[in-house]
Amino acid sequence: MRVTGYWRNISFLYRLAGWKCTHCGAFHHYKPVICRRCRSREFTQVELPGSGRLIAYTVIRSPPKEFERYAPYSIGLIELEDGTKILSQLTDFKEDELRDGIRVEAVFRKVRVNGEQGIIEYGYKFRPVLSRS
């Protein structure tokens, strides 16, 4: 991805902020011209809840070029508390800690260094919620 695309989408990548269709409730992580589900044109800005449940995860071992230096890394499919499903890198976990169904929460992290320009790009990642004993 280009740095320009990163800048434009920082509100989602930093804060899980996006646009919710006032008609059908569909969430858009980009600013929509028209609702991708119902074609309505009215939206309200919302922030997604920062916690949810890990539905499934995987580990990338042979990553694309931009991610070579970060391999292996984990990608999870997460269902947030409001039911929205999002993808995220997983972080701050111990080797045996990842299991489908565990509770996870959003944290702000460095995601990568962008190509030739060397710009450090930050964004959300999710980590297991520590069970309070």
């Binding site: 991805m1 695309g5 989408n9 995987t58 070029k65 499919l77």
Partner: protein
């Protein structure tokens, strides 16, 4: 609508063609197809290629192919629908003939993945299966998304038989001259291969190769005058949300469901009359989902039916009769054209040792991304 016929096919072996440029590979396939059809010129050229800008630093491939096939003057441009780029070119070529504007068109699909390093090919795949600033930003590549789908599938249905899809494809590829991996593998070997993105194993995903394939499409009018065998063709397409987890049910590929239904209706063929299917088994789980979403297997049953032999050359519904994406190979923009060419060989009795018993109708499913788009082609023996 003017009826559209396939009148000839040509393709190269899928391999790492270090000695050839992309356009040479494509010209080779194109010239073979023209010869096979017995046609010396065409009214237009449709080129399918996914990543030439990224891997070859080459745009304007249409005009370049007109030149490399000695057909300068003829309209020519490129279609891109990620891994289904060849099918997109076919779709445009089909409409051209169907409109009555052209009598003969050349459809060429090609991809030269060996011009990039493996991690560059992965970056290319990242462009194809997600939004650049969402999946692309976090590195959730095609294998990651497919692996997550695979997990959901296993939870709902179990994964029995899914790793058997590569076994079928390799069995059919054995000894196939144009296949990239023309040898058998066992289920054990699949299961013992390392994870590429768990639960997806190395031997459940297609490799990296170069290839080109071409078709000559002709109008019913020209078909009548040509000597080469002619097979009627239909094609439909549909799209879905880019990210499968934005879909109502990620395990139902709406794009496949819609495009299969539409093409069957267009051709006046029922599912039961389909004698063979070429699946988009770039990863094992997608092969299974193509069958289920296309209505050729109940949901959750494709793996079990595979284990029972239903999709073998002698099964109820032979699949991937020359090895599919897994074993014949998967050079993105060329893949759909290989699929259609292979059905053409089957229907015209030219499939050699892989020949099915008098098939009359075959269907090819070609996906882009994780089913963001599907193109379904149907070929059918029908007198002109």
């Amino acid at each position: 609508m003017v009826g559209v016929y396939v009148a000839g096919v040509g393709f190269t072996k899928i391999a790492e063609h270090w000695d050839k440029d992309l356009e040479q590979l494509m010209a080779e396939a194109a010239v073979k197809a023209l010869e096979d059809a017995g046609v010396s010129t065409v009214n237009a050229i449709y080129v399918g290629c996914a990543l030439s800008e990224y891997l070859q630093c080459q745009a304007n491939l249409g005009a370049l192919m007109a030149e490399c096939t000695g057909l300068v003057g003829v309209p020519a441009f490129r279609s891109e629908a990620a891994e289904a780029s060849g099918a997109a070119a076919l779709y445009s070529g089909f409409c051209d003939i169907a409109s009555g504007r052209s009598e003969a068109v050349l459809v060429i699909g090609g991809e030269k993945l060996s011009d990039g390093l493996p991690e560059e090919v992965s970056s290319g795949m990242l462009m194809m299966s997600g939004r650049s600033w969402y999946e692309g930003f976090m590195g959730a590549d095609f294998y990651a998304i497919s692996a997550l789908l695979y997990r959901l599938y296993s939870k709902r249905y179990g994964d029995e038989g899914i790793p058997f899809f590569p076994v079928i494809s390799h069995e059919h590829a054995e000894g196939v001259a144009h296949a990239q991996y023309p040898f058998k593998i066992t289920l054990d070997r699949v299961l013992e291969s390392p994870f590429i993105a768990e639960p997806l194993r190395m031997l459940e995903v297609s490799g990296i190769g170069d290839g080109a394939a071409a078709l000559v499409l002709v109008s019913e009018g020209l078909a009548r005058r040509l000597k080469s065998p002619k097979i009627k063709i239909f094609i439909s397409s549909a799209t879905d949300y880019m990210n499968p987890f934005d879909r109502e049910d990620p395990l139902r590929l709406q794009s496949v469901m819609l495009s299969v239904s539409k093409v069957l209706e267009q051709a006046g063929v029922s599912r039961g009359e389909v004698n063979m299917v070429e699946l988009h088994d770039s990863v094992s789980i997608l092969g299974a989902l193509c069958l289920e979403s296309g209505g050729f297997s109940p949901p959750g049953a494709a793996g079990k039916l595979a284990m029972k032999g239903e999709f073998g050359l002698n099964g109820r519904l032979p699949c991937n009769t020359f090895g599919g994406l897994k074993a014949r190979g998967h050079p993105f923009g060329a893949t759909a054209i290989y699929q259609v060419a292979e059905i053409y060989l089957q229907l015209t009795g030219r499939a050699g040792k892989n020949q099915l018993d008098k098939p009359r109708t075959g269907l090819a499913i070609s996906l882009s991304g994780v089913g963001a788009a599907a193109f379904t082609s149907l070929l059918k023996i029908e007198e002109v």
